[in-house]
Symmetry: C2
Subunit: 493 residues, 2 copies
Amino acid sequence: MVFESAEIGNRVDKEAYNLQAPDVRVALLHLQGDLKEAGLPVLVIIGGVEGAGKGETVNLLLEWLDARGVRTYAFGEPSDEERERPRFWRYWRALPGKGRIGIFFGAWHTQPIVDRVFKRLGRARFDQELDRIADLERMLTADGVLILKFWMHLSKKAQRARLKELEKDPKLSWKVTKREWKFFELYDDFREVSEHALRRTSAPEAPWHVIEASDARYRNLTVTTIIREAIQSRLDELKEKPAPAREKPPLPAPRPINILNSLDLTRALPDEDYEKALLKYQSRLNRLHRELPKKGRSLALLFEGPDAAGKGGTIRRVIQAMDARAYQVISVAAPTEEERQQPYLWRFWRHLPRQGHVTLYDRSWYGRVLVERLEGFCPPADWNRAYTEINAFEEQQADFGTILVKFWLHVSPEEQLRRFQEREHIAYKQYKITEEDWRNREKWNGYEAAACDMIERTSTDVSPWVLIEANDKNWARVRVLKTVCHRLEEALG
Amino acid sequence: MVFESAEIGNRVDKEAYNLQAPDVRVALLHLQGDLKEAGLPVLVIIGGVEGAGKGETVNLLLEWLDARGVRTYAFGEPSDEERERPRFWRYWRALPGKGRIGIFFGAWHTQPIVDRVFKRLGRARFDQELDRIADLERMLTADGVLILKFWMHLSKKAQRARLKELEKDPKLSWKVTKREWKFFELYDDFREVSEHALRRTSAPEAPWHVIEASDARYRNLTVTTIIREAIQSRLDELKEKPAPAREKPPLPAPRPINILNSLDLTRALPDEDYEKALLKYQSRLNRLHRELPKKGRSLALLFEGPDAAGKGGTIRRVIQAMDARAYQVISVAAPTEEERQQPYLWRFWRHLPRQGHVTLYDRSWYGRVLVERLEGFCPPADWNRAYTEINAFEEQQADFGTILVKFWLHVSPEEQLRRFQEREHIAYKQYKITEEDWRNREKWNGYEAAACDMIERTSTDVSPWVLIEANDKNWARVRVLKTVCHRLEEALG
């Protein structure tokens, strides 16, 4: 179904090509200037069968476009840095920023298709991979990326003819190796698997364009024309919809009785018990964290909670137990300029640590559904979809062997006030308290409600939230250490 | 000589420590705020013998400082991405930006010392590595980085005692493996080699601080106090010297007869000869560029020259001959915010391609001694030292197996004018011409003089400049292709 319409012998003769091509070329150049101005990121994905001229089309695009705004990525064998992170990491790091064009020569669909044809991937797992791709593309589209996917198709007959033709040309014969003929032998399998993949990953916002590739002029003209039209129409859309005026959003309605204010915050641990427990769990954690690299696992500890809930102090008690070479603390602050040019999760993918490491996040990607929601830094549609996107992000980490433990450290508003006042009086704590902290206090109820929404929607099987009563620091620290030890013991067996 | 003064039994008793430590801690926190504001990058390097408590000191620093402004890097085995680039790449990617503190747990000196002790490195080569380190640190210092280097020292007796003590402690015995004892056996060799390394890489602007490490309190207090004082005094210096008012610098004096305006720009190639030569050299280049990965070599082609000299068109003729998976074009534009936070060469190190690839630079690191010099984007001291720094940078690439060919495409001012006017009339060329290009024309003579300085000072044995007469595009393109083919044939044997 998918491919039949690309086997009808489409051709463009030289005359027609020479008539139309210059127009498309000029238009593309102008559009490139416009999209730069509009801050539109464009991702062009080139897939398809061997010998279909994918490379020639990429070369043509590089020739026609202003090279300063384009970058091509060919995804071959992953490097070990790439292998030591979840599969999508290599694609995230290559995404085009705002106003730029990225050309992916092969992309996230390539490996699953090959693996499926060679039976290294079962059907269910294959479909799961395809759904992840669809999810990712949906997220990118929602974040404003224009995705254009091309599948260069050749009929079996055309592919054989093309490979023979390449083999005969002394300038091009290097393109045909045993691998290409091996793939050709599996033509029917590839066709079936690709057809399934294309269908499952075609979406209204990012459809596959199947291009009959046997005639180079037809192929090039069709691809460039589709790119031209798609960019033009997206730019028109952007012009029609002016950015919504950013208003302070209403705070979420307070929830009088909720999972957080129902915590028993009187829980406490006397100092002498604390010292004993600290030593016990730190020793245990020390032993456990050294098992991680041996077992090829990673540990990610994520800390959220109101200001002055004791995140920093808790993190310090955890890292005291560990080898300084084994962990890193990532404090999440405002995004940089480069990060603002990219989809929201880019900056977290970017710093995703390599396998075998421990990462402690002092605040995290949950900023999207907490501070960004409350302060109106992003429109409601964006933080609303973030729950699903975050769940998918964490699932990929878990699938990859990361043990993710998410802590919510909770204090009462009274205790927070006491700590704020204390911070103002202790010299080495003063840096921690700012005007903003006082302002945030006023939004306590809204913040609590947003946190409850977050906990409800992102406590998943693979990474549930652990709520910690933190009015007493001793109690909180020991509870965190104990939980980490338990999770590690469970996971490392 | 270096180590004796760190074997005298320095100790700090608990009482004295408890009296002084809180002061240092508060001061460090305040200074961290100040250095953030002043945009001062601080690099703390922790080296020294096994068992000297390097990890504990790093943990203490992380505990005392505001984690949001610090990042620690432990450099273990390089990843393959790191191995596929010159040795310093991994350190460049970890450098702290302005206003931040980077802690390097082991750094550029570690591997050469170990390699020298195990005789994997000859004396001459070892000294060359040490000189490179000194060069790098000098450059970083000149770019405003405060470098603080600590060497944790233990006498042979103290190290043996320390390792035994660690072995006995069930919480810490994991730190002592066969490797540590193996290193201990080589104590005298390590001592001799380290002493030499420390002496050769100590400079007034970045001296080594040798710390007697057997007493933890003395070690921690000394290190933190040195850091405190160094940051304080650097901040005082910065306050005293207000940034010099940025004035338009005088243009370099024109050179009436020079190597560029003496080029014979009448050289030309008729179209039919051009077509033949183009085909010939593109075919040859195609064959040659496929040898690169097999031989573990890379190719870097760098293009500079006046506006409208035909850099883009030439680059396109080169890439037409290559597999789109094998090359990338890097167009050098204004630095991003993250790049502006770093030393000048950071953004070029950052994008240094992996081994086996072809990179084409449309403009390059030479911007420092061309446009930045002419426009006064950096003070004279900065572009003056850039010649040496660039030579060192290119030498490292060459050492690593990169074949670097630097082209200067030259046109006459008359020809440039003709092309500017043409660009204004051809639709798909209009994007290439801006107001700025017209303004730059007025500085022709100064630009030419700066280019001559550059060619004189950066034409080295490993990477000489190739001057191309480019008034005739046919001639220029064929000359470039031919040169690339020759250089590849020569290098690949």
